[in-house]
C-alpha cells in the first residue's frame, strides 16, 4: 500500500574550536545536491552535542570537519559516545587538515574514511552513497 520515501540523512558537524566552515558548507551543499537531507549544526560543537544531534535526528551518516588539529582527541571521543548510545549503524567520515600519519589510528577508532583538502565533491558523494550502513 505505502510507498517508501527513504532518504539518506547526513549530519555535517564541526567539532572543536576552529571557526572556518567553508569546507563543511561545501560538503553539505554537495550532498544536498545529490539528493540527501543534510543537517548542519554550525561551529564549535562538543562531541556530546554532535552525538546527541545524530541521535535525535536519526542520521545514517556523520561527516566531521576539523582544521584545528584536535582530531586525535575529539574523533575517538565521538566514536565512543556513538557506541555507548548504540549507534553502531551510523557511518562516520572525516575531512579537513588531518596529517597522513594520524589516519590509521582514527580508522582504528571507527572513522570509516578520511578525506584531505582538494577531494572532489563527486568522490565524496559516491563514497557516502556506497557506504551507508542502514
Amino acid at each position: 500500500m505505502s510507498t517508501k520515501e527513504k532518504k539518506i540523512r547526513v549530519l555535517i558537524a564541526k567539532p572543536g574550536l576552529d571557526s572556518h566552515d567553508r569546507g563543511a558548507k561545501i560538503v553539505a551543499r554537495a550532498l544536498r545536491d545529490a539528493g540527501m537531507e543534510v543537517i548542519y549544526t554550525g561551529l564549535r560543537q562538543t562531541p556530546e552535542q554532535i552525538v546527541e544531534t545524530a541521535l535525535q535526528e536519526d542520521v545514517d551518516v556523520v561527516g566531521l570537519s576539523i582544521l584545528s588539529g584536535a582530531h586525535s582527541t575529539l574523533f575517538p571521543r565521538i566514536m565512543q559516545l556513538l557506541k555507548k548510545k548504540g549507534m553502531t549503524d551510523v557511518m562516520v567520515f572525516a575531512g579537513g587538515i588531518i596529517p597522513e600519519e594520524d589516519v590509521p589510528a582514527l580508522k582504528k577508532a571507527g572513522i570509516k574514511e578520511v578525506f584531505g583538502p582538494g577531494t572532489p565533491t563527486s568522490t565524496l558523494v559516491e563514497y557516502v552513497k556506497n557506504n551507508v550502513l542502514k
Binding site: 505505502s2 517508501k4 551543499r29 544536498r32 545536491d33 543534510v38 548542519y40 541521535l55
Partner: protein
C-alpha cells in the same frame, strides 16, 4: 507468520520506548513515519491514544524573520518554567534534486544537550503548505513521549503557507520590521492565521511602526471572534519581550481551555480524517486502476490529447471500464 510476529514486537518495543521518552525510540519512530514504512500506520494507531496532552505551538513567518532563534529563546524560557519541549523544525526540500539543507539547529545549539528538549529537523519532501507530510504525526510522537509543549516551526513561509493551522493549537506569526506596510498586513493568508503576532528584531528601527501596522490591520477584522490576536515585540538578540511572549502563549492556552479547545479539537479531528481518507482513497483507487491497466490507458489518452485529465478522472471514477 513468524516474520509478522517479529515485526509487531519490534513496533511495540519502539512504541513502548516512545512512551518512556527514550530518544532513540522517538528518533526511529519519527523516521519510520517520515519514510512511510509499512509499519507506520500500526505505529500511529498505537501512539494516538496517548496523544492530546501537549500544547502544540506553530511558529511561522517569512524567511529570515528570526523564527529559529526565537524558538530557541522560547524553548529556554519554557525550560526555566520546568516544561519539557519537543521541537520540529521544517526546512524546504529542493524540488530539483530532492535534497535538503536543514540548518535550523544552528540557531538552537544551546538546547542540543538539554535532556528536557528533543529537536528534530524535517525536510518538506515537496509537501506543500509549509510543513512536511509527516510533521503532524511527528508532533503526535513527541506528544505521546510526554513533552509538555511541542513547537512546530514551518519553512520560511510566504503568504499562503498556512498548513500549520491544521497542526497547532496556538499559531504564532513571526514578522520583522521593514517587511511591508499596512497594505501587506491586510492581505489574506498568513495574516489571518495568527493567534499571536510577534514583531521580532524589536531592537531595530521601525519595529514600533510594524507593530502598529499589524494592530491597524487587525482592527479591520469584521468577523466576530472571541480571541483578538495579540501583537507584541521581541528581540531574540537581547531577550527583550521573551517573557511576555511566553505569557501570551499561556493566555491563549487558557482561552482555548475555556471551551474553544473542544471546538478546535473537533475541527482538527475532522481535518485529520479527511486527509487520511484522501490518502487511502487515492492510493487504493490508483492501485486498482493500475492493476486493471486503466491507468496506462487513461494516461496514454491524455498524452495523445484525446481527453483532458479532469474528464478522464471523472470517467475513471464513474467506474467506466473504458475511459471514453
Amino acid at each position: 507468520m513468524q516474520v509478522f510476529l517479529t515485526e509487531v514486537t519490534e513496533v511495540q518495543r519502539l512504541v513502548q520506548g516512545v512512551f518512556r521518552g527514550e530518544k532513540r525510540a522517538i528518533a526511529k519512530t519519527i523516521s519510520k513515519i517520515e519514510n512511510n514504512e509499512p509499519e507506520a500506520q500500526k505505529i500511529i494507531s498505537l501512539i494516538y491514544p496517548k496523544t492530546g496532552k501537549a500544547h502544540i505551538i506553530g511558529i511561522t513567518g517569512p524567511p529570515g524573520a528570526g523564527k529559529s532563534t526565537l524558538v530557541e529563546k522560547l524553548a529556554k524560557e519554557l525550560r526555566n518554567r520546568k516544561k519539557t519541549v519537543g521541537i520540529i523544525a521544517v526546512d524546504p526540500t529542493s524540488p530539483f534534486t530532492g535534497g535538503a539543507f536543514l540548518g535550523d539547529r544552528v540557531r538552537m545549539q544551546d538546547l542540543s544537550t538539554d535532556d528536557g528538549v528533543y529537536i528534530r529537523s524535517m525536510a518538506t519532501r515537496n509537501h506543500p503548505g509549509g510543513l512536511a507530510r509527516a510533521t503532524k504525526d511527528a508532533a503526535h510522537v513527541l506528544d505521546a513521549a510526554g513533552k509538555d509543549v511541542v513547537i512546530v516551526e514551518t519553512v520560511g513561509a510566504g503568504q499562503s503557507e498556512v498548513e500549520v493551522v491544521k497542526v497547532a493549537q496556538t499559531v504564532v506569526v513571526i514578522l520583522a520590521p521593514g517587511l511591508g506596510d499596512d497594505i501587506q498586513a491586510i492581505k489574506a493568508g498568513q495574516m489571518e492565521i495568527g493567534d499571536i503576532f510577534v514583531v521580532n528584531k524589536g531592537d531595530r528601527e521601525n519595529a514600533n511602526k510594524a507593530v502598529s501596522d499589524i494592530e491597524a490591520a487587525l482592527e479591520l477584522n469584521t468577523e466576530e471572534r472571541d480571541w483578538r490576536p495579540l501583537v507584541l515585540k521581541t528581540s531574540a538578540l537581547t531577550g527583550e519581550g521573551i517573557g511576555e511572549f511566553v505569557e501570551s502563549i499561556e493566555r491563549h492556552r487558557a482561552y482555548l481551555k475555556k471551551g474553544a479547545l473542544d471546538v478546535q479539537r473537533r475541527a482538527k479531528a475532522e481535518i485529520e480524517l479527511i486527509e487520511a481518507l484522501k490518502q487511502k482513497i487515492t492510493q487504493s483507487i490508483i492501485q486498482d486502476l493500475r492493476e486493471k491497466g486503466e491507468w496506462v490507458r487513461a494516461t496514454d489518452r491524455i498524452l495523445a490529447r484525446e481527453i483532458d485529465p479532469y474528464t478522464a478522472a471523472e470517467n475513471l471514477l464513474k467506474g467506466k471500464t473504458k475511459t471514453s
